[in-house]
């Protein structure tokens, strides 16, 4: 491996609320649009308390399963699906997105959202996946899920919820979410 050394991360701090969230960030499609679902939940700390100063970002395929290459996430036009969204947590630690159900990237595979989380008190961003629960066979065949111990696998699988899915990001504790590190060394 040659090349420049990476720049370290640092906490997002407490004062991002006037900088990173923006109108429409959590609305990948307007509520009520055909196929619109809700992905919602809480960011929770090691004491079970909601984290009111966290930011959740989703990055997902659309209904075809293909990677979306559409700009406009920061100034949504109400029609274009960009596949990316950002939601700050509320005073109870809750977040919510209105979006479309991602299709599996490969036929027969599971469908999931890629998620990034930052918060005050969290010194670097965390990455995870939110799997949809609808296809048990696809979940059973997934490489990542199969590699996890029983008690941890379920932390990555969303539950059915009102108008869509529920998923809590547990930063620490018994139900701690599995966080991910992508393997380096891709041919480049």
């Amino acid at each position: 491996m040659s090349g420049p050394e990476g720049t370290p991360g640092q906490t997002v701090g407490p004062f991002f609320g006037y900088a990173l969230p923006y109108p429409g960030g959590d609305t990948l499609v307007p509520p009520g649009r055909d196929g619109a679902i809700r992905l919602a939940g809480r960011v929770v700390d090691g004491a079970g308390a909601g984290v009111p100063d966290a930011l959740v970002e989703v990055w997902q395929a659309g209904p075809t399963g293909a990677v979306v290459r559409e700009p406009g996430s920061l100034r949504r036009d109400g029609w274009s699906f960009t596949g990316w969204g950002r939601a700050a947590t509320d005073p109870t630690g809750a977040y919510s997105f209105t979006t479309l159900r991602p299709a599996p990237a490969v036929a027969g595979g599971p469908a999931w959202f890629a998620v990034a989380v930052v918060a005050r008190g969290l010194l670097d961003r965390l990455l995870t996946r939110v799997y949809l629960p609808d296809d048990p066979d696809a979940l059973a065949g997934d490489r990542l899920l199969s590699s996890l111990p029983d008690g941890r696998r379920s932390t990555l699988i969303a539950r059915p919820g009102p108008d869509g899915y529920r998923f809590d990001v547990v930063l620490q504790g018994d139900r701690e979410t599995v966080f991910l590190q992508h393997r380096p060394g891709h041919p480049g």
């Binding site: 720049t7 407490p14 700390d45 590190q181």
Partner: protein, 244 residues
């Protein structure tokens, strides 16, 4: 019992020098990390699907003027006007072109416009402290702003953060997402700050500090700083279904 700077500094010293190019998530001197760090190590996986790409931003998302933090109001903000510029590279040294860079910062007096920042320093009616830009074809970014002041916080008694600018960046792959802070050279608060010191490898820590660059400084106008950012997460070779 609220700890003193001496106690925090002793904790920092006891943890310093450990290897690791990223901050320690479990870093007791930064008190807010206690209940907010995962105890399990991250699970290593081969990225798939959308993880091999990043969201796309374009001129529809970001305007040319969004990168000048000194022209967002009727008057000019107080403080030391400056340019912060550099290049965004991936771990192989390749330019990250056309990607979103977001910044936010305190004003010259060390006060954020955020309503939860109530420390008794003045707000500046001519300064919000947020900016965005897209990187150029060579990965370059450039912001015009004023130098932020240091400010107190409540991690411990008489705690002060070194002056910094928050940066949020996207790379060419999802794992290159980076949220970090840029510092200014020679700040005497560096050794006292548990957030900077959470990067326990001194060489990695140094990569968070900009360099004063007289070639960026403009005559009778402003000073200049240069800070290159390396998004070290794994990068894909090519994108599927796109020419970018």
């Amino acid at each position: 019992m609220i700890p003193t700077q001496r106690e925090i500094s002793d904790e920092i010293a006891s943890l310093d020098g450990a290897a690791g190019a990223q901050p320690r998530l479990d870093y007791p001197p930064y008190r807010s990390s206690a209940l907010r760090h995962p105890r399990h190590p991250a699970v290593v996986l081969d990225p798939e699907g959308v993880e091999l790409a990043s969201p796309v931003f374009g001129p529809r998302d970001v305007g040319e003027l969004d990168a000048d933090l000194t022209i967002q109001h009727r008057g000019e903000p107080l403080g030391e006007r400056m340019i912060v510029t550099g290049r965004v590279l991936d771990g192989r040294g390749r330019a990250v072109a056309g990607q979103l860079v977001e910044v936010w910062q305190a004003n010259a007096a060390g006060r954020y416009i955020h309503q939860r920042d109530q420390h008794p320093a003045p707000l500046d009616p001519n300064f919000t402290g947020t900016g965005r830009c897209l990187t150029g074809p060579d990965g370059s970014y450039r912001f015009v702003t004023v130098k932020p002041g240091p400010y107190p916080w409540r991690n411990h008694r008489n705690a002060w953060r070194p002056a910094h600018i928050h940066f949020s960046l996207f790379g060419t792959a999802f794992a290159q997402r980076l949220v970090t802070q840029m510092y200014f050279p020679g700040d005497p608060l560096f050794p006292l700050d548990p957030i900077l010191q959470s990067v326990t490898d001194p060489a990695a820590r140094a990569r968070l500090i900009a360099a004063y660059d007289h070639d960026v400084t403009q005559e009778e106008w402003c000073t200049g700083y240069r800070w290159d950012i390396v998004l070290s997460g794994p990068a894909p070779t090519v994108f599927e279904g796109t020419g970018r």
